[in-house]
């Protein structure tokens, strides 16, 4: 085992060629097996025209194959010693690989004895397949091969049906317990494949509280007092392109909700057995947990064909514009502004068949009023809402509290005031609010902004930023971006 931190050495460098090189012995030996099978079939008179492998060719190919297999095993050993691979599955792969390489050498040694050659070669091939499969499971995670197998075929092979989703039964957020109900399922989905009992990269296991608390070979991961120094949060927060980012690029990434939950959890001192309800949750985190635990209605995707045929009819009847918003989903952009004052509460109510699919809704300049806004309650996916120059008051804003996906709200030129605006703090995703030409005061907007801001997260980002700035000034900054700003020097005459 190397000490902490990556060590560059010729061995470590060569080790990284292992995943590439392993294909060579596999290809060579299997091609030989195929040629032997063809030669064997030539014993039938009708197939006499098939070519057979000559003894000299067999010797040569076996020599190359065995050499390649031994090299692959050596490279694999270098890779395993370089670093991040530990766990039962690595051991299995290691021994199978060594066995396969040894068998290949043995086959080469005895290949002139016909009676021994065939069964030994067959056994070598079996070992190769097993070793290769173990290696593949290391790289892609166990169960990768069969994950997408149709269930009927799985039963044929005696595999159990794929494990049911690890998300617990839609639990009441009030009763969920922080680590086992909220955090562990996320870790199981995203991390345990490489940080679990089968494979524990960096010596870190995340499959249980005890293992996680132990940390990896670089020290503890969670529970650090200073969030900025918390490697767990730092690495999931890094941009995907950065090598240290977790989960690694190319693997399934954390969703926004999962990221929010994990960040909050780690920065809140990694609470374990506390019920979520007893913790002081920012609105965005509560929302993320709620949707992760099965927020019910918001997760149902309406049927595209049904939505579109209803949309086509409604667009015609109400003289409004409806556009699809995504290449394959049912999401809609509904523009009622084009209908002007002719569009009112009655017309808005008629949109109910497509309501769950409405993502953008432009009611600007229509005669929709407070009473009509009750119809919006079923638009769980609503992200952009224009109500500018509508007859809306503070009372109407109260009706918007359930629209948790809302990011953009335009209230320009309406009769809303400070009292109504503060109700909007219920909207965890709200990013843009337009209140020009209303009675709303800057102080109220500021208060709303405060209520919607996750202070802890900002503090952490600031701490990270100053840490980065410190690192940059500490290292002598090279300013080298890989591009030469100077033109090439003129050639001497």
């Amino acid at each position: 085992m190397t000490a902490a931190g990556p060590v560059s050495s010729i061995g470590a460098f060569l080790g990284r060629f292992h995943p590439l090189w392993v294909h060579l012995p596999i290809g060579i030996l299997f091609l030989l097996a195929f040629l032997e099978a063809v030669g064997w079939a030539a014993r039938w008179p009708r197939l006499r025209w098939l070519p057979a492998v000559g003894p000299g060719q067999r010797t040569l190919v076996l020599l190359v194959g065995a050499a390649a297999a031994v090299t692959a095993a050596l490279l694999g050993w270098l890779l395993a010693h370089d670093g991040d691979y530990e766990g039962a599955r690595v051991r299995t792969h290691q021994w199978l690989g060594i066995a396969a390489a040894a068998a290949a050498v043995l086959v080469f040694a005895v290949h002139r004895m016909r009676w021994l050659y065939a069964p030994l070669f067959a056994a070598t091939l079996v070992l190769l397949v097993l070793a290769a499969h173990a290696g593949g499971s290391l790289t892609h995670g166990g169960g990768f091969l069969t994950a997408r197998m149709p269930p009927a075929m799985g039963r044929l092979f005696g595999l159990g049906s794929p494990p049911a989703s690890t998300v617990p039964h839609p639990a009441d957020i009030g009763r969920a317990v922080a680590f086992p109900d909220v955090v562990q399922p996320i870790l199981n989905d995203r991390c345990v494949g490489c940080h679990g009992p089968d494979k524990s990269n960096g010596g870190l296991r995340m499959d249980s509280w005890g293992q996680l608390a132990k940390g990896g070979k670089h020290g503890p991961v969670v529970g650090a007092a200073d969030p900025a120094a918390n490697p767990f949060v730092r690495r999931i927060d890094l941009p995907t392109e950065v090598k240290e980012h977790m989960p690694p690029a190319g693997r399934p990434q954390l969703t926004d909700d999962e990221l929010t939950i994990l960040e909050w959890w780690a920065c809140a001192g990694a609470p374990r057995e506390k019920p979520v309800a007893s913790l002081d949750l920012p609105a965005s985190v509560a929302e993320a947990i709620r949707s992760r635990l099965g927020g019910a209605a918001t997760d149902v995707v309406p049927d595209r064909v049904a939505v579109f045929s209803n949309a086509a009819r409604l667009a015609r009847e109400l003289n409004i514009l409806i556009h699809p918003l995504s290449p394959d989903g049912p999401w809609l952009d509904v523009n009622a502004r084009v209908a002007g004052r002719a569009f009112g509460n009655k017309e808005l109510a008629l949109l109910s068949p497509i309501a769950p699919a409405v993502q953008w809704l432009d009611l600007g300049g229509t005669s929709v009023s407070d009473a009509g806004l009750a119809c919006l309650a079923s638009m769980h996916r609503l992200e952009r809402l224009h109500l500018d120059q509508c007859r809306i008051t503070d009372f109407g804003l109260g009706q918007l509290a359930g629209l948790r996906a809302m990011e953009y709200l335009n209230l320009r030129g309406t009769s809303v005031s400070d009292r109504g605006i503060i109700e909007l703090r219920q909207l965890p995703r709200l990013r843009s609010l337009y209140v020009w030409q209303t009675a709303v005061t800057p102080a109220a907007v500021k208060a709303l902004g405060e209520a919607l801001t996750d202070r802890r997260r900002i503090a952490r980002l600031e701490a990270e930023q100053s840490e980065l700035a410190r690192q940059i000034s500490a290292e002598q900054f090279q300013g080298n971006t890989g591009e030469s700003l100077r033109p090439p020097a003129p050639k001497p005459p």
């Binding site: 109400l318 003289n319 514009l321 699809p324 918003l325 502004r337 700003l485």
Partner: protein, 490 residues
Amino acid sequence: MNTPFDPEVIRTRQLEWSRRTFLGKSAQALGALALGSLVDPRLFSAQDPTVPGPGGRWMGCLPSPNFPPRAKRVIHLYMAGGPSHLETFDYKPELNRIHGQPFPASFTNGQQLAQLQNTTLLARGSSFTFSRCGISGQMISDLLPYTQQIADDICIIRSLHTEQINHDPAHAFMNAGSMVKGRPSMGSWLLYGLGAETDNLPGFVVLMSRGPSGGEQPVSARQWSAGFLPSRFQGVQFQSKGVPVHYVGNPDGVCQSTQRQVIDEIARLNGFHEEETLDPEVQTRIAQYELAFKMQTSVPDLADLSSEPESIREMYGVKEVGDGSFASNCLVARRLAERGVRFIQLYHRGWDQHGNLDTDIKEVCRRVDQASAALVKDLKQRGMLDDTLVLWGGEFGRTPMGQGTGRDHHINAFSAWLAGGGIRGGLSWGSSDELGYRYIDNSQQMHVHDLHATMLAAFGINHEKLIYRFQGRDFRLTDVHGKIAHGVFA
């Protein structure tokens, strides 16, 4: 619906024809059928359930977007003539340092030059100072004090480059991605792909303003042509002085209901002609009559700027409404955007400073700066900047080498800015080399094709999927090029 392109109607009519007529017209009919299927693709590809619009209006040829869209409309502030990037957005202290000295030959050897060929090339520094602006600290020339105020809302692109070095072909390249005549401009492509949100006004409107001297390069109407697309997607130029559209009112003694009857009757007669020829251009003509009728009410409403408060007019710097100035055009552009026009292009001629750079560019900046910034601010306070993409830029830049008291045309690097429509404000995208001669060839370089691809991406359109088949070849706005600059989006 029995449209002339209904296969049932065509089949009946073909049976009615005599053999000679049939042979004579069948080739033409097949061609028109093919074209017709492009004009309304839903007719022949009903498998994808799309959402048709009310009243048979054009809803665009794309059944659904290729990516989630961000923008809904474009306002292109077209600085015609080639604004000098070195005086506006691209600060080059190194160029100032070697001012007056021979320009390094390693830059210019074997390069295409417009009017500076076979002359001694001398470096020309900028006479104007630059400042870091906003929280983002973007460098913007002090010639543009109002644009400096919106530094955090705009994304400045400093690595733009084009292929055409003279005005007219360069305009064509910026508009249509090709210098060849007969290609559709980007506004036409967008209209063809998405349709417009209004049928009371044209979906693609052009306004023109000019500098003080009167000697500016002309801009030809082919810059907003629909090319080989059906001509209903063509840009329509409004007058920027006086009434936007001449003779839009009825003559004395004609009322709207009489007018309605006239339009209906003409449409009926045109319908006969269309049935006979199956020419989609007749459909365009019918649609244009209908549009013109609607514009009899929509245009006076558009042009009535009395509803704009004094404070808004002051913000734009409009002295007199409808005086043909860039400021007045910007105000009209915002009103067009509010009314659902998809693509609005404001040309301002007067950036072609081969000589007298220092005095003339000051004047043209004065005319353009305040209104450009006011437009962005005004869109923002109305909550429209989130879905309105604003592009400010010209057809090319100007040489870092002096040409007497000015600068020559330059295609290897120039600057522009984008704002709104999902663009990340306060971002500097790409750069030119230390003398402002050539773009730095990295992932942030931006060819005009890349700009087009990126603008279409803001609308959720994959530029490789917006295709029109013409004369046996598939055409795109970006031809066979174009890379989306994903990084400019927030």
